[in-house]
């Protein structure tokens, strides 16, 4: 090794009088390590066996602690080649398996080693990262009992190393991102994954946050999206008993048939299998709850904006570009709900800009406007004025587009325009009533040039999703906002040939990303800030018009429509969420089998809402 030990006198001279025994042990450890290079491995072998005791009695533990402490003072004599076995033995130790005194000694050794030479930094960081989740063999009570002790030591150790090696957080990032438990493996428990992500979030909010914040949050969002992708729609369709995804609204009778008539129980929930691919849903649900709680803590600490900027960037890069993300987007929804004035508006603006920016890819723009429409429709925390502002800009964009075009109906060529029109109509289905009830917004809404964008040669009313078009026309007519003399007859209530064409292979015509969250635990966080279709007060009266032939009704101009002043605006309502379940059951909007129901068959039923379509769950969307 080429190390020349000082003579005993010199060594002891440097040691303090108060700790001679410890100093002697350090000196012995150095001697042991140096002797390996001279071919004398007897002491070294003894040291190795002490590091790997077969049984962990009190004596063995005492010996282990003593050796680790002694080695911590002799790290500069450790050679990564000569003492490879020793290093491997120590790096394979898990803090979770030991009591606090061993943990302290082990952490002290790792800290000393990491700061002794650049070549050990990565190894030590990897060893500490391995402690981010418990070993599989450890029983749950022990995990819970030791968790705080282990994690607090690990994080304080990472901070110690960062204080002495300032670039270590940069090196830590890829190690943490690559060290995630393999969520695909069946033996990776949800708890392990949750504890790991908890550590990632702890790093983000800790002193290393300035360096690791962005990659940690991006890593968490990536993980959510990975799990999201693992939940396949095909599996959902194959579950014939009830289907993983209940619909947003069920007919009362059908709900009763399904045993969901209990008011205290949510009519919709995600039921996952404990094995196979669907356990991903359980993992995803737990992780999302963890992140929601983290966002809450950030808001309390007044640092939500900082987190939100990173989340938004991550959303733009991954979720927005992903093919029909199902759940991951609710993280940003929840962040927006915590700070509607800043985060909520920022998110809407980002989506709006993505849609308007002409150099963006068409699919990205369509995806953005689908998110925008769904978000503005569902976000209960957003003021109706914010929604109105965005709506105005969307309409302006569509008006300008129409002026520039001299084309006839062409779903594929004008898919961005059609997606914009569909967003406007979808949005108005949810918000028209509250806008009409506002004395300031009502005249503005009446003046909105909907006529020019919906009644033109491009015929968006024929191309957009029939269910949205029909609901919009019905509400618009009742509110005397917009009427058309044309009679719309669609082959299918859910979709039409033209809507399929403009949606393309990706079926972005049927993408409503903020449809009710079907993860049970996550939903409890989202629900208070969410507008369910059952809460929406349409501009028409269900009872009066339920039997009306919708197609003919729109053809008739002199129909009286609905009384606009009967119902309260959405903002004035105070929903008792305990009653929501019952309300959902009572408000039947879409038949359970609507996927196959034709428009003609739906005539004798109450108007169906497009949200019920749950486009993302449609098998065709695959």
């Amino acid at each position: 090794m080429g190390v020349v030990l000082r003579d005993d006198e010199a060594a002891f001279r440097k040691m303090g009088d108060h700790d001679l025994i410890d100093s002697y042990l350090v000196y012995r450890a150095r001697d042991t390590l140096c002797s390996v290079s001279l071919g004398d491995t007897e002491d070294y072998r003894q040291l190795l066996s002490a590091m790997n005791p077969e049984e962990l009695g009190a004596n063995e533990i005492a010996m282990l602690v003593t050796n680790l402490k002694a080695l911590a003072g002799a790290v500069s004599y450790i050679d990564n080649v000569l003492h490879n076995e020793l290093l491997s033995a120590i790096f394979n130790m898990s803090l979770w398996n030991y009591k606090p005194d061993v943990m302290d000694a082990l952490v002290e050794f790792i800290e000393s080693l990491a700061t002794s030479s650049g070549k050990y930094v990565d190894y030590c960081l990897a060893m500490l990262t391995c402690q981010f989740f418990p070993p599989g063999s450890l029983p749950l009570p022990k995990i819970l009992a030791r968790k705080d002790g282990v994690l607090s030591r690990v994080h304080s150790s990472l901070k110690y190393i960062a204080d002495l090696v300032p670039l270590s957080p940069v090196r830590l990032v890829p190690i943490v991102l690559d060290g995630k438990p393999q969520y695909r493996l069946n033996n990776t428990s949800t708890l392990s994954l949750v504890i790991y992500v908890e550590n990632m979030l702890k790093l983000e909010s800790g002193v290393l946050g300035e360096v690791v914040r962005i990659p940690m949050l991006a890593g968490v969002v990536d993980l959510l999206l990975d799990l999201d992708v693992e939940i396949e729609w095909e599996d959902i369709q194959n579950d014939t008993s009830k289907g993983i995804f209940e619909m947003e609204l069920e007919d009362v009778d059908e709900s009763r048939d399904d045993g969901l008539n209990d008011d205290s129980e949510l009519p919709r929930k995600l039921s996952w299998k404990t094995s196979g691919g669907n356990s991903f849903a359980e993992k995803l649900d737990s992780l999302m709850v963890l992140i929601f709680e983290h966002l809450e803590s950030c808001q309390v600490a007044d640092r939500l904006i900082k987190i939100f900027d990173t989340l938004l960037e991550s959303f733009k890069k991954t979720v927005l570009t992903a093919y029909k993300s199902k759940f991951a987007q609710f993280v940003i929804f929840y962040a927006c709900s915590l700070d509607p004035k800043n985060c909520g508006v920022t998110f809407a603006l980002m989506l709006e800009h993505t849609f308007f920016f002409s150099t963006n890819r068409p699919l990205l723009r369509m995806s953005a406007v689908a998110y925008l429409a769904s978000y503005l429709s569902r976000a209960k925390f957003l003021s109706v004025f914010v929604v109105a502002d965005t709506l105005e800009r969307l309409v302006d964009w569509c008006v300008k587009y129409v002026k520039m075009q001299d084309d006839v109906i062409n779903p594929e060529a004008h898919r961005i325009f059609y997606s914009g029109c569909q967003a406007i109509m979808y949005l108005l289905c949810f918000r028209m009533r509250s806008m009409m009830d506002d004395p300031q917004l009502k005249p503005w809404l009446v003046r909105l040039p909907l006529e020019s964008i919906l009644n033109n040669k491009l015929s968006p009313l024929k191309v957009c999703l029939p269910s949205i078009v029909l609901e919009f026309l019905r509400q618009a007519k009742a509110a005397r906002l917009f009427m058309t003399s044309e009679k719309f007859i669609f082959d299918d209530y859910l979709e039409s040939k033209l809507s399929r064409e403009f949606g393309g292979m990706e079926r972005l015509d049927m993408f409503f990303p903020f449809d009710p969250c079907l993860l049970e635990k996550s939903d409890s966080y989202i629900r208070p800030n969410f507008i369910f279709w059952s809460m929406v007060q349409p501009t028409y009266d269900d009872e009066d018009s339920s039997d009306e032939d919708v197609g003919e009704a729109f053809a008739s101009d002199d129909d009286g429509g609905m009384d606009c002043g009967i119902m309260q605006s959405l903002e004035e309502q105070h929903f008792d969420f305990a009653e929501v379940g019952s309300a959902l059951n009572k408000m039947s909007i879409t038949p359970k089998d609507s996927l196959h129901s034709r428009f003609g068959g739906a005539i004798n039923q109450p108007m169906r809402m497009p949200s019920r379509i749950r486009p993302s769950t449609s098998p065709e969307s695959l």
């Binding site: 500069s76 700061t115 030479s117 990565d122």
Partner: protein, 290 residues
Amino acid sequence: MDGLNVSDVNLQVQLHPSRSNNVRKAVLRELSSLLLRFNEKFQGVVLAYEFNIDKVPEILPSMHPYLYVRLKAKLLLFSPQPDMLLEGKVVKVRQESIHVIILGFSSAIITDKDIREEFQYKTKHGKDLFVSRSHKRHVIKAGTMIRLLVKSVDEETLCISGSLLPAHTGSILWLDKHVENVSLTDGICRSNKRRRGNEEESVMQEPGRTSAEAYSMVDHYIKKSKKHREYATQKPSRSEAYSAISDHSIKKSKKHRESAMQEPSRSEAYSAISDNSIKKSKKHKTREES
């Protein structure tokens, strides 16, 4: 402090067409990826940069029409080498080692093997410190600015193994006050001007001041040959974008650096920075080219 220098380099950066609406921002983004990483081409760590776009960006004819941007950049480099004298702040003192941070990002460790016998480890009021036996006021503790000799550098992690064995290493404050004694005992003559230079350099721990002062050394260093420029322009691929700085230029810059070190005073080098000097050097460069 040794190890800091400014290099004039010609760079070629290839930008994705989507970045064409803001070339300068895109170039900044590319260059920022060089920061705080050891770069073999430059043989150092880029701490700061300043650049001008040399010509109007060209579009490379290919499947993906990347923008081809030529830059003239000044890079502030930190190139620690064995036997250099570096300065840093002590962040931790232990019986077995002294931990130092150099320029706020690079860590250095001095193990007890590399601390000269003169220093004795003590604990005073619960604080660890090394005290000189012969000069009681020569104390090294957490917070002390020290000068150390580089033994080795781990380029991957930018961790430096240092030494306090030579007599002209230790607390900067103490060494500067007692430099004559040290010079007599060690036979190391370091001029007062040099010391003043070191004092100034020790301030360069503050990143904000580093680049400004270091840039002042412009044009004492690299002069690139016309030949090299031609060579550089023949390397269009993105992966080789930074290869424009040929070994030749680096060698040349090293020579310049050496010659700059031998100048009578570094403080003079600082004072020599003025627009005039830059203009002069430009003239000189043109003459060289012609």
